[in-house]
Amino acid sequence: MIVRVQAEDFDPEQEAQALAVTGAGARVSFVGTVRDFNATARVTALEIEHYPRMTEAELTRVAHEAQRTWGLLDVLVVHRYGRLHAGDRIVLVVTWALHRKAAFRGCEEIIDVLKTRAPFWKKEITGDGDIWIEGETPQT
C-alpha cells in the first residue's frame, strides 16, 4: 500500500506500476482534476491546505478500511496540496482486486470517504479575494 501527500504532480500509470501488484484480475483508477473555473467568478487558481501527518494517517485508515471491506489486493492513494490550476490532477486512487466489483466498490468508497474525512481544504483564488470551498462534515 502506498499513501502519499505531495505538492508535485504525479503520473497515474507510473504510480500504479510502482506497486507491481501481481495476481489481480482488475484494477480501477480514479483521477480527480480541477474543473474549469466559473469564468464570471474570476477564479484564477485553487489553493489546497492540509494538516500534515494527519492527512497521511487518515488516508491510511481509509485505505485499510476499504482493503478489509472489499478484500483488495492493494491500494494506492496520492493527494496533492498547494496551488493548482484548471485541469491539474488533484488526487489518484487505485485499487487492485481479483474481480472487478471489489475493485470498483473499493475505489469509490476510498474517494467518497476521503472527501469527508481527510483533512484537506480548498480555497478559490480570485482577483477580488479568496473564497473557501464549503466542505463535508466528517463522521467521527
Binding site: 480527480g32 489546497i48 491546505e49 492540509h50 494538516y51 501527518r53 494527519m54 492527512t55 494517517a57 487518515e58 493527494h79 488533484i90 488526487v91 474517494i111 476521503l114 472527501k115 469527508t116 474525512r117 481527510a118 483533512p119 484537506f120 481544504w121 480548498k122 480555497k123 473557501w132 470551498i133 464549503e134 466542505g135 463535508e136 462534515t137 466528517p138 463522521q139 467521527t140
Partner: protein, 78 residues
C-alpha cells in the same frame, strides 16, 4: 501542555495557526479552543470540527496533557 493547531477558515478567523496551552485541569477540546481564541472565538460562524491526536474527535471530549488538538471547518479534499 497541549498543542493547538488551526486550519483553513478557522485559522484565518482566529488569526491562529499553532500555539501551546498549559492545561491546569482536565478540559474539553472546546474549552481549550475558547481559552486560546479569546474574544475572536465569536468570529467563527459555526462550531469547528476537532481532531485529537490526528483522529477526528468531538468538541466535548476531554483532552490530556501532551495531546495535539486541531480545529478546522468541514474538509473539502479530493
Amino acid at each position: 501542555m497541549v498543542t493547538v493547531r488551526c486550519f483553513a477558515s478557522v485559522r484565518e478567523a482566529l488569526g491562529l495557526s499553532l500555539c501551546t496551552y498549559a492545561l491546569e485541569r482536565p478540559m474539553s477540546a472546546e474549552a481549550v479552543l475558547a481559552a486560546v481564541a479569546g474574544e475572536r472565538l465569536s468570529t467563527l460562524p459555526t462550531r469547528p470540527l476537532v481532531a485529537i491526536n490526528m483522529q477526528h474527535g468531538r468538541l466535548e471530549s476531554l483532552v490530556h496533557d501532551g495531546d495535539e488538538l486541531a480545529f478546522f471547518p468541514p474538509v473539502s479534499g479530493g
